[in-house]
Amino acid sequence: MAADLAYRSLTELGRLLDAREISPVEIVTDALARVERYNGRLVSFVTMCGEAAVAGARRAERQMAGGRGRRTRLHGLPIAHKDISLTQAVRTTAHSRCLLEYVPDHDATHVRRLAEAGMIMLGKTNTTEYACGTMDVFGVARNPWDPIRYTGGSSAGSAAALAAGMAPAATGSDTGGSIRVPASFCGIVGLKPTYGRVSRYGLIPLSWSMDHVGPMARTVGDCALLLTTMAGHDPLDPTSARAPVRDFTDGLDAGVRGMVLGVPKQHFYEGLDPEVEAAVRAALRHLEVEGARLEPVDLPLAGHLAGPGGILIMAEAYGLHAAQLRERAADYGTRTRRRIASGACYTSGEYEAAMRVRGVWTRQVARVLERVDAIVTPTVPYAAFAVDVQLEGEPPDTSWGTRHFNLSGHPALALPCGFTAAGLPVGMQLAGRYFDEATLFRIAYTYERSTPWHNRRPALSEAAA
């Protein structure tokens, strides 16, 4: 068996499979062994599909035998799905007592597309309850870089599983930053695509107008590879766009020479932890050296979106949960129940006013993106904080820099851009034009290939939490 499979990228694993140096069974059993070792401490997975995964790997091995090779670049490679995406015949709980017995009879569209490409599901990853509460039932996902610290939510287990080398690929959902915040805290790459780019059919919803599904991986190229399969129109999702899907791995290495990157004057660079500010400003200088030009840009509403965003998400969440909340309030976690119930308290006038702010904000972003290729910001203004901070009282506003692009629907990608002195990852966010994820991948890849951050690994301990 090739050494050190755990931290190989999908692309590298694919090359090893194509060269017959390893088999899908070796990759899957190696991943399952790491889950066995580390999941007790990290609580990244809440449901495992070990036997089915090994059987799937054996099937892939047979399919590849006899010189037939792999039918796609994802064939024979494992993936972890956030436990908020429906998975046929595999329990899907959204980390809620309300759904502990729920076994869907079909896959979410993105799960189905990845399976049809030959990916093998390892299991379901931890999430905050309904992507907006706490993790009371299975336990709190822990950050592999320091298990006393939080992973960020809600795609907590997906990010931690990647950082711990328990899976080479994962999916997440993002309503206010739920892919990008855990990506930042755990030092991996996560993309919230353009609204409509990836079907949400089979995603347990939180907010119809803010929910997105996206890929998570340890490298930019792997995210691009996953999006190429996940994206595309789906008649089962009425908000799914009929946008052409390109191979997002094409042109990754084209560089950033001549590109213009917008650096917001308002909000995004205010009040940052000094280590985060230093890392992101160093990344900006690095992109300048690579040939991009930096341009200060005005986004006057950027610091005024927490209230409107909170009203919209919770009003929509309450709309979805109203009946269940009446009938099974005690089965919700305390924080989830309170947050979702708060959505019942806004008036239609407040919802409309928040929508109006959203419309103006969206135009501000779109106008800036007429002049620049992407907007660059910190993903979160601080590194991962202690789990206890998340559990007690009202935790910090981790959507501080991310809800902006859920509100506007623009694509936004988070990638590592440094580490604090305590060894915690720092994330940078790139936001771009509608359906232009390719430019974000290109900028991110340019940065990644000339920096060391994505090659750092956490020192893991097997001890139970």
């Binding site: 409107p308 909170g310 806004y346």
Partner: protein, 67 residues
């Protein structure tokens, strides 16, 4: 109990959501924070366009959208 708390308890009771005092205190805090945030949004430009754009899924460049 404040007038705001009473109103929110009534709102929740009207839609059939029963809450205890601790739940109510936290819900009031969340709602008041979001309302205050909305109230602080600068009014400049919020009346344009006259018909609210609301939220529209992004249009596909050079193509039809998926609705």
């Amino acid at each position: 109990m404040s007038g705001v708390s009473d109103r929110i308890r009534e709102d929740l009771a009207r839609v059939g959501v029963a809450v205890n005092d601790e739940d109510l205190a936290m819900i009031v805090k969340i709602v008041e924070a979001n309302r205050a945030g909305l109230a602080r949004v600068p009014a400049d430009g919020l009346d344009e366009p006259a018909v609210s754009r609301g939220f529209l899924p992004p249009a596909v460049p050079g193509g039809s959208d998926g609705a």
